[in-house]
Amino acid sequence: MTTDQPTPSADPLVFDGEMTIYSATANFQRLRERIGKRLPIQIDLSAVTEIDSSGLQLLLYARAEADDNGLDFSLAGLSESVTDVFNLLYLNRTFGISSATQPETSA
C-alpha cells in the first residue's frame, strides 16, 4: 500500500487483480460512486496483476471525468503490468506520472 498520497479525505480507490473486460463493469460502478460523491479520484493500482484495453480505457475515462468534474486525479502504486502498458503507449504524461517516478512501483 502506498501512503504518500496527499488526500486525507478518503481512501484511494483500489483496483486489484485482473483489470479486464470481465471486471470492467464492477470497477466502473465503483468509479461512478466515487465521482457521484465528488471525492478526489485517487486510484491505487499496485495490486493490478493484469490490465487490458478496457481497464486502460477505464483509467482514461476516470482521468477525463475528474477533469470534467473538477476533481483531483492521481494514480498511486503502478503495478508492473500497468507500467508496461503505460510505457508501451507513452501514457505516463497523460496520467501525470513523471518518467522518473515511473519505475518506482510497489508490489
Binding site: 463493469t25 470497477n27 484495453s53 486502460l56 480505457q57 477505464l58 475515462y61 470534467d68 508501451l88 503507449l89
Partner: protein, 746 residues
C-alpha cells in the same frame, strides 16, 4: 531488329508523336491550360529526344531538348501557354518532322551533315523560343522568384516537394464500440506491433460518448495514432491487425523512404502486372488488400451506377478515396496513375500489329485467286452433276466470301485521320491569307481502303486549298455581304451503295459560270456558239489549263489544276461532281469505290460475251417489251413505269451480236451512279458473282466504259463495266452519233 527496321520504327513513332503533338496544340489553342495537352506536347518532344538519342541523332536531340525545356516550364506553371507560343510550337513540330526526315534520308548513321539551311531554321526557332522566354516574364531578375513560387505551387505532386515527414510508419487505429465484446484487446495488437520494430510514439485518443453518462465500460472508445519504425513491409505490418479488421478502422501510411521504394517499384512494374490502380498498389505493397476492399466498399456505397464510360472518373475516385482514407500518399497515387496510363498506352499499341502493306496486298491477291478457283470448282461440280458435292461447294463459297470480306477489311481504315490533317492546312493557310475559316469534319469514322486513302489525299488537299484560297472571302468582304465573318469548309464522308462519298463544301463565293465560260472560250475549249448547261459550264474547270483566279497565290494556282484532281479520282474508278451557287458556295462531291481489288458483281450475257456490272450499282432488272422502247437518232429510251430512261444495248456498244439469240427476249438492267440512272439492255441475266478485278494492262488502259476484267469459273473472261463511263459514252453518243468504236476484245 536490324538498323533499317529500327530506323523505320523510329520514323513511324515520330510521325505518331508529332501527330499527337499537333492534336494537343490544336487543343491548346482553344484551352491553353489543358494539362493533358501540355503533357502530350511535352511527352512527344521528350520521347523523340530520347529515341533520337538512342540513334545518335544529335541535331534532333539538341532541338527537341530546347522545346522540352520550355514545355517543362509551361507544364509546371512557371510559364503561361500563350497563343504566340502555340504558334512557335507548331513550327517546332514541323521542324522536328523535317529534321527527322532529313536525317533518316541521309541514310548512313555517320553521315549527319545536314543541310545548313535546315539547321539555321532550327536555330532561329530556338532563338524565337528563348526570345519569347525572356520577353514574356518581363526581365531576368523577376523570373527566378516567379519560378520558385510556381515550383512550390505546382510541383507539390512531386515527392521532393512534399513536406518532409518523419521516416516512420504512421498507423491509425480507430476501434469500433464492439471491439472488447468481440474479444479484441487493442493492447495486444500494439504489443505485437512492438515486436516488429520500435514504437516511436503513440497518441491514445479516447472518443467519449457525447454524454459522459452514456459511457459503457464494455464498449471500446479508443483510437490510437502510432508512429512506428520498422523494416517490415506494409503487408507484415497490416497483418498485425488482421483480426481487428472488422472492428477497427486501420490506416497505415508508409514512411517517406518506403514511399520512394514504392514509387520505384511502380515505375518498374511489368506491363502484364498492370491492372487496376488499386491492385497495382497492392502489388508493390503500398496498399493492403484490406485497405483496397475498404476503399472499394465505400466507393460502392457512393456510386451504384458505374458504367464503362465512367471508368476514368471511377479510377480517380478510387484514388481520392485511398488518399482520403489515408492509405496512400498523393504522390504515390500520382505515380500509380501514370504507370497505369503508360502501360495502357503500351497495351493499346500491343493490340495492333504493324503489317507490311505488301503482305496484305499479297494476301488479298491470293484471296482473289481463291475466289476464282472456288468459282471454277462450282462450275466443275455442276458440270459433272455430282449432287452430293453441292452442299460442300456452298460451304466453301460461303467461307471464301467471309475470307474475302475479312481480308479486305484488314486494309480498311477510317478516313478521319487523313481528313484531320487538313485542319493544319486550313489553320496555316487561313492565317497566311488573313481569312477566318473553320474546318468542320464529319463522318470521319467512314472506312476506306488504305491504298485509296493515300491516293485521295492529294486531290482532297487541292480541293480544300481551293476552297480556302478562291472560295472563302476575306472577313471584311464577308461582313459586307452579310455572311458570318468566319467561313466554313465542310468535309463530310459517308458510305453510299458500295461507294464512299466525300464532300468538300464551302460557304464562299461560288463559281462564276460566266467567267469560266469566257476563259474556256479564250482557251478554245468551247466555241461561242456551243450551248452548255450550268452544270456543264461548271465542269469546264476540270479541263486542263483553266484557272479562274487571275493571280496565282502561294497556295493554289501553281499549275496543279482541277484537271489533275479529276484525273486522279478517275484513276481510282471514282467520279467528281460539282455544284455551285454564285455567292452561296461550292460543293465538290467525290464518289469512290470502296476497294480496288474485289467486288460483288452481277454477271450478264450479251451477244457472245459476258459482262460484270458492279452489284452495288444495279438497282433493278426488268424485262423489256420492245413496244416500250423508242429509238431516236441512235438514242435509246425506254418507258420505265412512266419514267423516261435512256439505255444502252450492250450488244450494240460492243458490237458483239449473236445471231442465234437474236429473237430471244432481252432484259433491262437498271444501274445507278450518283443521282443518275441508266438502262443496260442485255440478253441474259446470269446472277451474282464475286469478282476479282484484274487490270486490263497498259494496252487497254484508255478503254472507256470498262473498269477491268475478271476470270470466270469456267475460265472465260468477262469485262467489268464502268457504269459512269458508260453513261458518258451514252451522252456523247447522243451528241456525236458514233464516235467510239468498240471491238469485242477476245
Amino acid at each position: 531488329m536490324n538498323m533499317d527496321a529500327a530506323r523505320q520504327a523510329f520514323v513511324e513513332e515520330v510521325a505518331e508523336l508529332l501527330q499527337s503533338m499537333e492534336d494537343a496544340l490544336f487543343a491548346l489553342e482553344s484551352s491553353p491550360d489543358d494539362t493533358e495537352s501540355l503533357n502530350a506536347v511535352f511527352r512527344a518532344m521528350h520521347t523523340i529526344k530520347g529515341t533520337g538519342g538512342v540513334f545518335g541523332y544529335t541535331p534532333i536531340v539538341n532541338f527537341t531538348h530546347e522545346i522540352e525545356s520550355v514545355m517543362e516550364e509551361v507544364r509546371s506553371g512557371r510559364e503561361p501557354m500563350t497563343e504566340q507560343l502555340v504558334g512557335i510550337l507548331f513550327e517546332c513540330r514541323d521542324h522536328t518532322g523535317n529534321l527527322v526526315e532529313a536525317i533518316v534520308a541521309n541514310d548512313s548513321d555517320e553521315n549527319l551533315d545536314l543541310d545548313p539551311e535546315l539547321l539555321k531554321a532550327g536555330q532561329q526557332l530556338v532563338d524565337k523560343l528563348i526570345a519569347r522566354n525572356t520577353g514574356g516574364t518581363g526581365g531576368a531578375s523577376a523570373a527566378p522568384a516567379d519560378a520558385q513560387a510556381a515550383a512550390a505551387d505546382n510541383d507539390s505532386n512531386q515527392p521532393k516537394y512534399l513536406p518532409v515527414a518523419s521516416d516512420a510508419w504512421i498507423i491509425g487505429l480507430d476501434f469500433g464500440p464492439d471491439a472488447f465484446r468481440n474479444g479484441m484487446d487493442p493492447l495486444s495488437f500494439l504489443r505485437y506491433l512492438a515486436s516488429l520494430g520500435t514504437i516511436v510514439d503513440v497518441a491514445t485518443i479516447p472518443i467519449w460518448p457525447h454524454n459522459h453518462d452514456d459511457f459503457d465500460p464494455e464498449s471500446c472508445y479508443l483510437s490510437f495514432r502510432i508512429s512506428f519504425r520498422s523494416d517490415a513491409d506494409k503487408k507484415t505490418i497490416a497483418d498485425v491487425f488482421n483480426f481487428a479488421e472488422d472492428d477497427c478502422n486501420i490506416r497505415i501510411l508508409a514512411p517517406e523512404s518506403a514511399q520512394e521504394k514504392y514509387l520505384e517499384l511502380l515505375q518498374r512494374l511489368p506491363d502484364d502486372h498492370i491492372t487496376r490502380i488499386g491492385e497495382m498498389l497492392v502489388e508493390v505493397g503500398a496498399l493492403t488488400p484490406q485497405e483496397l476492399s475498404r476503399a472499394l466498399n465505400s466507393q460502392e456505397v457512393t456510386t451504384d451506377l458505374d458504367t464503362e464510360e465512367d471508368a476514368a472518373t471511377k479510377k480517380r475516385r478510387l484514388g481520392e478515396i485511398l488518399v482520403e482514407q489515408g492509405s496512400v500518399k498523393p504522390a504515390l497515387m500520382e505515380q500509380a496513375v501514370k504507370t497505369q496510363e503508360a502501360a495502357r498506352k503500351r497495351l493499346d499499341e500491343n493490340r495492333f500489329i504493324r503489317v507490311d502493306a505488301e503482305r496484305l496486298g499479297h494476301l488479298i491477291n491470293l484471296v482473289g485467286e481463291l475466289v476464282t478457283s472456288s468459282a471454277a470448282i462450282r462450275v466443275m461440280v455442276e458440270r459433272a452433276g455430282i449432287e452430293d458435292m453441292n452442299e460442300v461447294v456452298d460451304g466453301v463459297d460461303y467461307l471464301v466470301e467471309e475470307i474475302r470480306d475479312n481480308a479486305l477489311q484488314l486494309r480498311m481504315v477510317p478516313i478521319g485521320d487523313s481528313l484531320s490533317r487538313f485542319r493544319r492546312v486550313v489553320r496555316d493557310s487561313s492565317k497566311e491569307l488573313g481569312k477566318q475559316i473553320d474546318l468542320v469534319i464529319t463522318g470521319g469514322e467512314t472506312e476506306l481502303d488504305k491504298t485509296l486513302i493515300e491516293k485521295i489525299t492529294d486531290p482532297l488537299t487541292h480541293l480544300i486549298r481551293n476552297a480556302i484560297d478562291h472560295a472563302i472571302e476575306t472577313p471584311e468582304e464577308r461582313q459586307r455581304i452579310g455572311k458570318p465573318t468566319t467561313g466554313t469548309v465542310l468535309c463530310n464522308a459517308f458510305h453510299d451503295s458500295g461507294h464512299i462519298v466525300i464532300e468538300i463544301k464551302d460557304d464562299g463565293a461560288g463559281l462564276d459560270a460566266d467567267r469560266i465560260r469566257a476563259k474556256a472560250e479564250a482557251k478554245g475549249l468551247v466555241k461561242s456558239e456551243d450551248v452548255l448547261s450550268h452544270e456543264e459550264t461548271l465542269r469546264l474547270i476540270f479541263e486542263p489549263g483553266l484557272s479562274t483566279k487571275d493571280t496565282a497565290s502561294n497556295l493554289s494556282g501553281r499549275g496543279v489544276g482541277m484537271d489533275v484532281v479529276r484525273r486522279n479520282i478517275e484513276a481510282l474508278r471514282g467520279s467528281v461532281e460539282l455544284e455551285s451557287e454564285r455567292g452561296q458556295g461550292t460543293k465538290v462531291t467525290i464518289i469512290l469505290p470502296l476497294t480496288l481489288a474485289i467486288i460483288d458483281g452481277f454477271l450478264v450475257g450479251a451477244g457472245q460475251e459476258q459482262y460484270v456490272i458492279p452489284l452495288s450499282q444495279v438497282s433493278e432488272c426488268v424485262e423489256v417489251n420492245p413496244t416500250d422502247t423508242s429509238n431516236r437518232n441512235g438514242e435509246h429510251y425506254v418507258n420505265l413505269r412512266g419514267e423516261v430512261l435512256p439505255f444502252i444495248r450492250l450488244t450494240e456498244l460492243f458490237r458483239s451480236y449473236n445471231d442465234e439469240n437474236k429473237s430471244s427476249r432481252e432484259s433491262l438492267v437498271v444501274v445507278r451512279f450518283g443521282h443518275h440512272k441508266l438502262g443496260l439492255v442485255v440478253d441474259t441475266l446470269l446472277g451474282e458473282l464475286q469478282t476479282v478485278i484484274k487490270p486490263l494492262g497498259s494496252l487497254f488502259e484508255n478503254l472507256q466504259g470498262v473498269a477491268g476484267a475478271t476470270i470466270l469459273g469456267t475460265g472465260d473472261i468477262a469485262l467489268i463495266l464502268d457504269v459512269s463511263e458508260l453513261a458518258t459514252i451514252g451522252q456523247t453518243h447522243r451528241r456525236a452519233s458514233s464516235q467510239y468504236d468498240y471491238a469485242s476484245p477476245q
